[in-house]
């Protein structure tokens, strides 16, 4: 067990955590952009747009993420990082679209009417009036989605040998032989995931309580 928790090893794992967080952050940001488009299409009232949005959401809601990772990596032949981000974006944007749809529906319809009556265009209406209000309500849900995404990036090592936290942990485990060492490394890796995800969940919970309190007033 000596020399297991050296700076080199710890840094190695933390770099893995870095790529995990980087991939999931980029993916979630892209998903928000794409999801916003899908949500607006879904609520647009135009048959064609809302039909396409519904089909998109149903497809990605009812198929596994791993399949899309394989798809972008093997079928679309993208480089690992691009494939990872594309797969996560496609998959997560379906969830995010539903979150945003919920958020948009939560904005009082008076807000739409008021903005229209003041002569705002549709783009202005959403960008300046509706989305800022909706966003406040969506933040907890989006953060939870972020946690889910962080957890799911653990597929990337197995699927395309991308060295995120799980991958780094596996590489480290392979370079030690004793059971105790492997046990410790695995435990550390799991603990890092837990700490990151659990603290984010606590943030979500605290934020939700605050919103609830604010609404009770």
């Amino acid at each position: 067990m000596d020399g297991l928790f050296t700076w080199v090893n710890i840094r190695f794992l933390l770099q893995g955590l870095g790529s995990t967080l980087a991939v999931s952050s980029v993916a979630i940001l892209c998903s928000i952009v794409l999801g916003m488009g899908i949500a607006i299409a879904r609520t647009s009232g135009k048959r064609l747009f809302s039909g396409i949005a519904t089909v998109y959401i149903e497809i990605f809601k009812n198929t596994p993420l791993l399949l899309w990772i394989m798809f972008t990596f093997f079928v679309a032949q993208l480089p690992p990082l691009g494939a990872a981000i594309l797969a996560f974006t496609l998959f997560t944007s379906a969830s995010v679209a539903e979150i945003i749809r919920g958020g948009l529906a939560g904005v009082a319809s008076g807000q739409y009417e008021a903005a229209r009556s003041q002569g705002f265009s549709t783009v202005q209406l959403y960008a300046l009036i509706i989305l800022p209000q909706a966003l406040r309500n969506m933040i907890p849900a989006l953060l939870s989605q972020f946690v889910t995404t962080i957890k799911d990036t653990s597929f990337l090592w197995g699927a395309m040998a991308l060295q995120e936290l799980m991958g780094r942990g596996m590489i480290l485990m392979n370079s030690y032989n004793s059971t105790a060492d492997i046990f410790m490394i695995f435990g550390t890796m799991a603990a890092i995931y837990f700490v990151v995800c659990f603290s984010l969940s606590q943030v979500v919970r605290a934020y939700q309580k605050r919103i609830k309190k604010a609404q009770a007033k």
């Binding site: 791993l66 919920g102 948009l104 008076g110 969506m138 939870s144 957890k151 799911d152 059971t179 939700q208």
Partner: protein, 352 residues
């Protein structure tokens, strides 16, 4: 790019139809067995989390938080890579059944907890006053009534479980995803097999999520859902919810899970927004509820709101249970000698 989906590649895939069928069957079988384990764990731990014992509640909390905040793949690897070091090894089929069963057991226990929390406390009191034991009360009185709250998010969990069996591909699980990978790897015909896998997963998951939607709508149609008996038991302000909120762990997870249908993956519960505008908007008087959002938004009590009300009751119930020993003591002097140990009723008798 075009010949990614060339005809001969499809032919090669369909020539292997018995293997496809076997892999599909394995996915279904693993899902079913894992679902049984998840249900068993979910009911037991869900009942634990509404019990009086702080130890049982603590155990449940730890179980749920660990299972929900550590990636599923890591949990699978505990069985796959760590247990063998301790001398326990099992085939990837049973690893799948147990790991995924335990994982979703954590989620289902939160669903059950929120369902139990939705039952009017009069039901608990009535059951106890009739001399039911804790588990008898749970299985005979409470859970059957909580079913309507529990079922919609349960169907969502079932769909998620099926999707999550794909993780087993990474430990050579022999199921659909693994077959797809190995077929793609061995023939380098990547296109068709993943499309077919997507279709097959969709065939299982789509009906489940439709079922969830149907169940939720049916539940919402019956108004006496949340309290189990009363129609207008929920004060309006306690059901005011932020639309689209959810949580990945803890009490709010139950809210979002009970919001159910819109949960896409693991924990992302996306509740439809209530059409009733927030009282904080000065302009809310302008809005016309009849013109509100289409679909589920029209319901007076949408999933998230119902769930919040449910949680409200759960908390109340828990509070009451915490207070119970004292009050029981105080009452005890007069009531203890009552025949059959029946407790005196308080104002909630109307709940029967």
């Amino acid at each position: 790019m075009l010949d990614t989906f060339a005809g001969y590649k499809w032919a090669a895939l369909f020539a292997k139809w018995p293997d496809v069928l076997a892999a599909f069957g394995t996915t279904v079988l693993i899902s079913l067995l894992a679902l049984i384990i998840a249900l068993a764990l979910g009911v037991v731990f869900g009942a634990f989390s509404s019990s009086r014992s702080i130890v049982l509640r603590g155990i449940t909390r730890v179980y749920v938080e660990v299972v929900q905040n550590v990636p599923l793949l890591l949990q699978v690897f505990v069985f796959y890579a760590i247990f063998p070091l301790l001398g326990v090894s099992m085939g990837s089929f049973f690893i799948g059944v147990f790991a995924i069963g335990i994982y979703h057991g954590g989620y289902i226990s939160e669903v059950v907890r929120s369902g139990v929390g939705s039952i009017h406390r009069g039901q608990f009191e009535a059951a106890k006053s009739q001399g039911f034991g804790y588990w008898q009360m749970m299985f005979l009185i409470i859970l059957p009534q909580a079913m309507r709250i529990i079922l919609p998010p349960l169907a969502v969990q079932a769909a998620n479980l099926v999707k999550n069996t794909s993780v087993l591909a990474l430990i050579a699980g022999g199921e659909l995803m693994y077959f797809s990978n190995s077929f793609a790897g061995s023939t380098s015909y990547y296109g068709p097999v993943y499309v077919l896998a997507a279709v097959l997963y969709f065939i299982i998951c789509f009906p489940l999520s439709r079922l969830a939607l149907y169940l939720e709508r049916r539940t919402l149609a019956g108004h006496n859902v949340t309290t189990g008996d009363g129609k207008n038991e929920i004060p309006e302000d306690s059901t005011e919810v932020t639309p689209g909120t959810h949580d990945i762990t803890g009490s709010a997870a139950a809210d979002s899970l009970a919001a159910g249908v819109s949960i896409m993956q693991d924990t992302s519960g996306i509740a439809p927004a209530p059409a009733v505008p927030s009282p904080r908007h000065p302009l809310h008087v302008l809005s016309d509820p009849a013109k509100g959002e289409s679909g589920r938004g029209e319901h007076p009590l949408t999933g998230n709101r119902a769930a919040l009300a449910a949680d409200e009751f759960g908390k109340e119930l828990q509070q009451e249970q915490e207070d119970a020993p004292e009050t029981h003591h105080r009452r005890g002097h007069s009531a203890k000698r009552d025949a059959n140990g029946a407790k005196p009723h308080d104002g909630h008798g109307k709940g029967e």
